[in-house]
């Protein structure tokens, strides 16, 4: 994919990966950010004009200090769409990105073509509390994120050598910066009262969930279906929270089947 940097009207500098042609599709990544390799985006780009912006605080994107609360994040999403010069895109959001995409669809219901929410954050079920990501040690991430934690770890780190302290320190700092940003909408409980606004979503909606998601368990899918009228659900086997990375082919076929 090609990378370029756009500047939003608010002043955030946003690195965007871009590929393909056709109907515009904007992908919003989760709290961990884009991985070094994102094969599901390459596959989607065979059919759609795919844009994957990195949130300020992630990678080379900057202006984190300009975004402080949920409304800032939501409007930033639309500011990015505006800066990209596309209209009525499909919005696809994963985890934290799903929370942002759902908020975007709630505040501007007429500006979304279709909405795909992949194991989205944003709701809270008291009986099914989401584990506290902020109290996890980085080596504990894989077991909450992947159906196959060992294979997942390799995806997560992109083959970095963590026995090298400098590499480890660099990863630690970058991870802190990303999760610090995410904490503005996820800490201490990833619920910014989105449930009060979901009635406004008009776009046709698809929910995609990994059957072995232990971070945001599939019980949440049901709650989302109750909150967005007519939302469909596809559950994917042998996939955890990082379903687009663990089962890219099944994931892409479910998404493109829905988007048309």
């Amino acid at each position: 994919m090609n990378a370029r940097t756009i500047t939003t009207k608010r002043g955030c500098k946003v690195r965007v990966l871009e590929a393909g042609s056709g109907k515009p599709l904007v992908f919003f990544h989760g709290a961990g950010g884009l991985f070094p390799e994102n094969p599901f985006l390459d596959a989607l780009a065979k059919k759609y004009h795919v844009f994957a912006p990195e949130l300020p605080g992630y990678g080379e994107s900057s202006g984190d200090e300009l975004l402080e609360d949920m409304l800032d994040f939501t409007l930033h999403g639309w500011d990015v769409v505006t800066a990209l010069g596309v209209e009525r895109p499909h919005l696809v959001g994963h985890s934290m990105g799903g929370m942002i995409a759902a908020e975007m669809a709630a505040v501007a219901p007429n500006d979304v073509a279709k909405l795909v929410l992949v194991a989205p954050a944003g709701l809270w079920i008291a009986e099914q509390p989401i584990p506290d990501l902020y109290a996890l040690l980085p080596h504990e991430y894989p077991k909450y994120l992947f159906h196959d934690p060992a294979a997942g770890l390799a995806l997560l780190t992109g083959g970095l050598d963590f026995s090298n302290l400098e590499v480890l320190a660099e990863f630690y700092i970058a991870n802190s910066r990303r999760m610090a940003m995410a904490g503005k909408i996820l800490f201490p409980i990833p619920n910014r009262r989105l449930s009060k606004r979901l009635y406004r979503v008009q776009a046709e909606t698809l929910l995609v969930w990994g059957a072995s998601d232990t971070l945001i368990v599939p019980a949440y899918a049901e709650r989302w279906q109750q909150s967005i009228a007519g939302a469909r659900l596809v559950q994917i086997n042998e996939a955890g929270h990082m379903v687009p990375y663990e089962q890219p082919e099944v994931f892409v076929s479910a998404v493109s089947g829905f988007l048309g």
Partner: protein, 409 residues
Amino acid sequence: MKFTWFNLMPWPYLADDFREQNRSIWVDIPNKLYDPEKGHFLYNRYMDQLEWAETLGYDAIGVNEHHQNGYGLMPSPNLIAAGLARRTSKAAICVMGNSIALYNPPIRVAEEFAMLDVISGGRLIAGFPVGTPMDTNFCYGQIPALTRDKYAEAHELIMRAWKETEIFAFDGKYNQLRYVNCWPKPVQKPHPPIYIPGGGSIETWDFCIENDYNYSYLSFTGYKRGKELMDGYWEQVAKSGKDESPYRGAFAQTICVGETDAEAEQLYAEHLKYFYNRCLHVYPGFADPPGYRTIKTLKHGALSALSEDALSKFPTLTWKDLIDGRYVIGGSPETVVQQMEELIKGLHVGHVFCLLHVGNMPDEKTRHSTKLFAEKVMPKLRNMWPEWKDDERWWIHPMKDRAQPGVSR
């Protein structure tokens, strides 16, 4: 030199296998371990000790704020300080401090500290910590990346509330108040001395220097490990062009004094073990939530933090390790004097928070150590900064004529 007798107020009834049975002494310590009836005697014993320390000549008595913490029983240090204010008459009352980002609105801190200053007749030292991530983020739910911003706003509000003589509106990001009107106001003008307890955040140095606040480094790893950090602070002071009064800095040190080196070991070793093994058993996942430390601070210290995890060594440290490594200053009065001189000169500090109660130390041992320090150590250290002896900028300025509790007039 100034000496504060400080009590963290640990819970002394943690079982021998506490560490094995629980992941943390802080944040998610099982609350069924707390026994209020034992707690009753404990608060009273600890407050007695603080009050007694004044009679031995300690310049200040100190309390602090922790939440959901097995080694700190003071979610509200102000309540303890209010009791101390009534039962003491000379010592500074050092509240180290109120985590000002946690109070909603923080004008509450301006009011309560003013009350303490008024009740005590101007004896309050006001500490404004950012707060540990355990207290601030995990127990009190503050967003890590916004904690410092919220702290800065709370600080601005409190200082304006104390200084301004007209009612004003405060349109903050976290606090909107139409009528800020601090009532009562502190005795000390324009405000009580302000101390900022710091861990290792380098931004805190500049904040202290700009405002002429005392920077207090609070750690349990002793003065050898504190040196690098304090050197960094003093370098920054020098760069700013301000004078290098040792009263700009303070340090917290665990101290155990016996009649002889051997007696000290025999009396106190088990209590140090209790503290370092059980009390410092904090789940590492609570120690550094992303966003709490700034990227600048992380870059400054990330490598050393990853390569040498001091915390992981705590549980196995013996008396000899703790003394030789100078985590703890312990031994006969002569030994303690010599090491205290090293600390005071080495860190260039005019004020030491003396942690003389340790872990599950019983009352009589606490008093033994406290008394020996007051009688045989303190006098020898009093005049270590003769050239700064008249520097009262970081000290209390009480009213000359003060009420006597129990005697109405």
